[in-house]
Homo-oligomer: 254 residues x 6
Amino acid sequence: MTRIRVVNPNTTASMTALIGASARAVAGPGVVVEAVTSSMGPASIESHYDEALAVPGLLAAIADGERSGADGYVIACFGDPGLDAARELAAGPVVGIAEAAMHAATMVGRAFSVVTSLSRTTGRAHDLARRYTASGACRGVWACDIPVLELDDPAVLPRVAASARTALDHDGSDVIVLGCAGMAGFCASLSVELGVPVIDGVSAATLLVQSLVTLGLRTSRRDEYAPPLAKPYTGTLEIFGSCNPNGVGPVREA
Amino acid sequence: MTRIRVVNPNTTASMTALIGASARAVAGPGVVVEAVTSSMGPASIESHYDEALAVPGLLAAIADGERSGADGYVIACFGDPGLDAARELAAGPVVGIAEAAMHAATMVGRAFSVVTSLSRTTGRAHDLARRYTASGACRGVWACDIPVLELDDPAVLPRVAASARTALDHDGSDVIVLGCAGMAGFCASLSVELGVPVIDGVSAATLLVQSLVTLGLRTSRRDEYAPPLAKPYTGTLEIFGSCNPNGVGPVREA
Amino acid sequence: MTRIRVVNPNTTASMTALIGASARAVAGPGVVVEAVTSSMGPASIESHYDEALAVPGLLAAIADGERSGADGYVIACFGDPGLDAARELAAGPVVGIAEAAMHAATMVGRAFSVVTSLSRTTGRAHDLARRYTASGACRGVWACDIPVLELDDPAVLPRVAASARTALDHDGSDVIVLGCAGMAGFCASLSVELGVPVIDGVSAATLLVQSLVTLGLRTSRRDEYAPPLAKPYTGTLEIFGSCNPNGVGPVREA
Amino acid sequence: MTRIRVVNPNTTASMTALIGASARAVAGPGVVVEAVTSSMGPASIESHYDEALAVPGLLAAIADGERSGADGYVIACFGDPGLDAARELAAGPVVGIAEAAMHAATMVGRAFSVVTSLSRTTGRAHDLARRYTASGACRGVWACDIPVLELDDPAVLPRVAASARTALDHDGSDVIVLGCAGMAGFCASLSVELGVPVIDGVSAATLLVQSLVTLGLRTSRRDEYAPPLAKPYTGTLEIFGSCNPNGVGPVREA
Amino acid sequence: MTRIRVVNPNTTASMTALIGASARAVAGPGVVVEAVTSSMGPASIESHYDEALAVPGLLAAIADGERSGADGYVIACFGDPGLDAARELAAGPVVGIAEAAMHAATMVGRAFSVVTSLSRTTGRAHDLARRYTASGACRGVWACDIPVLELDDPAVLPRVAASARTALDHDGSDVIVLGCAGMAGFCASLSVELGVPVIDGVSAATLLVQSLVTLGLRTSRRDEYAPPLAKPYTGTLEIFGSCNPNGVGPVREA
Amino acid sequence: MTRIRVVNPNTTASMTALIGASARAVAGPGVVVEAVTSSMGPASIESHYDEALAVPGLLAAIADGERSGADGYVIACFGDPGLDAARELAAGPVVGIAEAAMHAATMVGRAFSVVTSLSRTTGRAHDLARRYTASGACRGVWACDIPVLELDDPAVLPRVAASARTALDHDGSDVIVLGCAGMAGFCASLSVELGVPVIDGVSAATLLVQSLVTLGLRTSRRDEYAPPLAKPYTGTLEIFGSCNPNGVGPVREA
């Protein structure tokens, strides 16, 4: 039996349910998907700041998985937060959903476009495309200007579809990558509507992790991704409340 | 039931047997692997010329698979010959073994090195790395100077291991990609010996195709990879014999 | 006397006549241009599949040229099919028309746009630009949506000109590269009409091959482009008919 | 008066003292340098995991600076942890020391090499070079294999110098970038010894922030770096102890 | 006391006055800014030809600065003419204004657009962006089609603002770089009007040179930027008049 | 009749004789090669400073050629000094010898190495490779540490050959590009000795210009390379003497 831990690095449990369903829908026989919600961090990840504060909770969920014997991990947020750190921590493979979706996209078309939530996250998507894919594979990143936590509302599907259509036409791309775990539910209907492959990273990453486990492949321990060195870590972080109007966030010493 | 056709694009049946075993060893329950040998072309693929002459036979095997209802295809030669053409021909996904191995390598380490057969094939490996991966992912391509058809001999394993060790040290890489389908049998022992992930493209590609089929992803039909246009094709090609000393190959009109 | 063999890798003799005329119009005194039609393959090359099936016939034409003492070769299709394999086979230099046109374009302007036949071929043109030129040299590839075999009709010239004008304006480029051998006849009039250099790859490649021969430069035999190794090649390929509606092509064993 | 807050994102106060001294040594008249130690996180940053756990403490120090009216910030760890998030949080400019050092390096030579602490951090340095500089500017990253907290010992200077000399010779570079805030004290003597510019990021970043403040330049609020959106953040993170032998780190819910 | 020589490489003294004012407005206490006008060359630099003819005068101004003990230099033309040669000549650091502006831009936003004078200079700006910044940092270069010597007229500000606004919208950038020293006076008002950082290279370069001097950093003398070798230089160049209608410029032997 | 003006941009007439002989040896019937020595500038070009001071003399030679009806130009120094400015000035095509050699090299092999004179010029060669060729085409630049004006001595051939051999082995390249016009005489014997194509840019550029003229291709006048604008140019430059020991060059106002 293979146990794949799918971590939702935000703290919204309803989104974890959606993510878990996407993962389970494709996991092979004998694969148990554990979808877990991060126990600390932001309700949604829509900025570098959100991402930074989500990572410790994500790593706690990875560490917990290690203690309970998970075979591999999916980081179920399109920014792939904490991916490198998670690889140092986990014995088994760790795959991000942007990583999985972008790799899959290059295998079913010439060039893809990403359709994501808010425009402020497009920079991160560009960074990830540059990290994962060859130059020219990602032709554009488009925001539909819908906050992450509203993406599970079927009513927004037409707006996502409109963004995807614009992307295909403008970029001359032939594949759509969904740029948010919250869009997983739209994958099948969008694909029918647009007539091109539409890729949900949650299901793609689940199968990639399952495949890596089957292949016996684990993150290389040679140098960079070796376990973190033993050393003192100190302090307690309490995060709570919401950003105040002048942009100063809620982090403070507990 | 999912049927994955794994095509060995050279004409050496013993190599097909090895390839088929690698694929079957990882394929999921309910997946049937059909390993087929190309019915025309070179006995091994070690040059651009060999690759060019292998492609029509490969495409015939793809067309044959379409007629018999294959769900997806693996092109089991590290040069990924005919990949784009095969994508136009096949309804289901098509993945090359270099493509699969390189994608997998980026998910289990910082940077990989390729260990391949003859040095004359390293240029092609560099081209594929540039096509599939981001700049910096592939740190080097090393030839162990063993012809493809001698790679199934366990006696050559130490030489492959030596090349891999040199690659890791010189390149500062942390993952090894096996640059020939004929090396598939060495994967597990090499990984133990070297202490880093060693990736065989045949098994990796089999699971990638299986995953794409499960995800319902097929090659985009939008523009570039649409089925070839109807038009007259004429002529008969007979290939036979071996290259003569002055370098002029055996192609001629039948 | 220098003999340059210009190979039309499709099987349409009227196109060979056009190509031969373009080549002869620029070849120097003492240079004999042999324009030959491939004896097998598709009537036109408009897909990866077409290109793959055109290569064996092209290589047969190269091998034939070697037997008869050709000094160099032009591959007269903008996809430059079989270029690497041809370089292994031929003693003298081999140049593709996309290669020649793109190199020439960079010497007479800041950045070029390609105007080609069908949109499904633009991906290949992008790949070639990435292979031959520095990043930024090619600003765009535009299709005028005219099939290759209709491009010799003067009636389509206004549509080609319109695509070129759009390309110059949109891309901010200052040179046009004609993306199909079949457009060779439009070169002079388009240049006058557009007021920028317009480059036909057939004539450019002919002069590049002539120049390389004069310089005594032949493809390096060091490693990658050495003659193909002696080995068994087997099988007969008969290609005929036209694609059937479900996209499965005409390749089959003879 | 300009107040520049220089944040040491690890929890080792002696290193903060060194960093503060480097910053103050170059700050202009009327510039107050506040060197602060992060109140939570690892004692040193030598892995992606360390970096991830250092970021919340760093952000708390930035938020604290915003409340007290800092005009700009230096992130004084060569991995530039949390740079993007800090830019969202701070009204004034934020500069990382790798960023500053690499930019400066390109202005005083053709190409630089980085000399850093442990080899496991070289991947991060490569990533940052790719982010900040043009292709070819960074010719190599070399580890002297000295842990961060031992770098303030003058006894290790010869080993750092030896790494730098190897880098210059092997890479053909003409500038050395010190790859750790802990090396700041070696800058002057190394430069004399090696005969090339040697760049310490702490002092370089301090002057860059001072310059940006003088120029009236603040991080753009257009889209990506706008203040984080108001939303619930929950949870408490307690980090303590040291990594256990099986690589599972100390993060857990408090 | 630090002496920074700011060289206007064109021969228009009124532009030097503007440049000197920009530099002095930001220079620190104890820094003397010497703004000098080149004694030979074109009245403005708007082509490669202008730039080539401006360089000897610029180098004479650098050599003069060396004799009089300047500590560092700013090349105050956005094409950064003669930058490499000046670095060989000067003992202290030399920074170009495009270089300074582009580096600064990357520290206060995700991606910048350049707004420049005439469209014929945009190619040079692209070249410089490729030299100084990572791929993707510069999203576009836009010309407002105003000659350099008319840019000091406040009446053109609305046209510059309009170009900048178009650039931000079209490119999705969040920082504007002013692409001509003559635009320095517009920096503050444009920034207010556009709501994004607007960067003037003259002031940015002045502070970069000041910073490099404070850091004790000088151009590396290792190999490439070592002083020019002793050798005979001969000839006298008289440049005068204006280009004649057929495009042949005024250079001739005196 | 076609007149190609080959400009030696240094002032050493014996080198012009060598260059002229190389050009004439390959020029076609009906092509007149005018080899001219620049009338002002350095005796040899071995630094950015030398190059900058050579350009005005080069441009004077181009302007003179325009007045006398030259059809095209070769810039016969491997740094391709003044290429862009020359293109603005000349009606016919202008090609640099580095440009020509690098383009030719990519057509006769997988990847080339450059062998040049002094190591301080290797940076410029790298810049040009990045400008003219695709990433990966140039694998290395090697200096044989022989000053330009000593390269015509047959006694240095063994040292050039040794550098070339090292380059081929270390870089895994298969073509050698000679990185100085002064090496033109070694081309044939080196090629025989090394067994790979060796490319002299002077002869390659001559044939490229001849080819462009035959093709009727001239530098695009659209925007960037339009003739320089009419404007005042003032001043006289006298260059003489040799560099003094402190690195300040001979430029001064006449």
